[in-house]
Symmetry: C2
DNA sequence: GTCTATACATAGATAGAC
DNA sequence: GTCTATCTATGTATAGAC
């Protein structure tokens, strides 16, 4: 009966509710994992009755997929600046900053993604073996071209990319461990600045772009 | 009535059953997370009636703690060789090989640990903020001493340790993603050899011990 | 579109025969 | 010590009044 697109007000409510649910779900999945998060808990966080979650997303499974989608959207775009004619040092530096910024701004998103992969990527397997694989192959070729041109020291393309993912995502996914070891209640601006500086220098040295 | 210690045969059965359950549980927790793993499923994997799991470990929670304990035992021992009078290059190389070997031999263990931390370390928080924090502080001091002696390039101690954890554990925790991107059904001996070589050179270059 | 009440399945846990 | 049968709680999902 209702056509959201034709009724601006309802469309707005619809959009806002969907977003509220997605945010609450991302938080819950990050904290408790897919199985540990409950629709009841997500509903409470979103301040909506549980039945509404089912109205908007059907099943828990579909809600989870929607959360993953919203994460991938931002995730995959970040490798786009890797081009053969770009300066490797600048590209690498920007990528590290960008990924660390994501780890800081959306730590829950990173955790949901990590949890999905750790537990066998039941939902994302096809995305990884198609889109992501293709993207990594492209960007690995760029890395190898940089190597061939003598712009950076020899590194394996795919593994270099894995390295950057590991180093940057670690600070979101294992943030609790890092905080507890450093004795912090929360990572401060200064902490994140040292992290970025540390990772940047570490990686640039490894490819011969810093001493 | 039964005293396991006094009755060798029963003690043996007891030990074997406990181990069978722990192995099955580690696998299940790795695959599905704490909440997603079920006692029924673990019992099936261990080929024992579900009631026996409760007989041996009481609750699911205690079983989970027992699994984590068995992992930590092996985890924490590996930093012991970091001493000021040891050769940094050798120490770092051995540590990388050792941790990667663990990632390869007990990928499930690494995943259970990762999942625990990602979801807020509800069980391990106190261990991390006491024992592990202390250990990292000690070993960070060793790193800084190496730096002071001019044996390696300047690096922050704790972050250097985090780096090694991130790089080595990534290959266990994100193994599915790596396999799918590399187009492998399983990582081969050769794959692991290249990984070890890659990580080793990457890290040694970063601290000035390889070119 | 919203929300209360409820159906149905499955989880963790235990009682009690063996 | 082992295992079947069962209890109770909680989870996902939906029916149906508003």
């Amino acid at each position: 009966m209702d056509d959201g697109a034709a009724q601006p007000h309802k469309a707005k409510i619809r959009r806002e509710n969907r977003t509220r649910i997605l945010v609450a779900a991302e938080q819950a999945f990050a904290e408790h994992g897919f199985a540990g998060a409950t629709m009841t808990n997500i509903a409470k966080r979103a301040s909506l009755p549980k039945a509404n979650l089912h109205y908007y997303f059907g099943t828990k499974d579909e809600l989870y997929r929607a959360v993953l989608d919203s994460i991938l959207e931002e995730w995959i775009s970040k490798l786009n600046l890797w081009r053969i004619d770009a300066d490797p040092g600048t590209v690498i530096k920007n990528y590290i900053r960008d990924k660390l910024e994501f780890s800081r701004r959306r730590p829950q998103a990173s955790k949901v993604f990590a949890s999905e992969i750790i537990h066998g990527a039941p939902i994302l397997a096809s995305f990884i073996s198609a889109d992501l694989r293709h993207l990594v192959e492209q960007k690995a070729a760029v890395v190898h071209e940089w190597v061939r041109l003598g712009l950076i020291k020899p590194v394996d393309g795919p593994h270099f990319i894995f390295t950057l993912w590991a180093l940057t995502q670690h600070y979101a996914d294992f943030e609790v461990q890092i905080r507890l070891i450093l004795g912090r209640d929360a990572l401060t601006d200064d902490d994140w600045e040292s992290i970025a500086g540390y990772v940047e220098v570490f990686v640039l040295r490894a490819v011969g772009l810093a001493s």
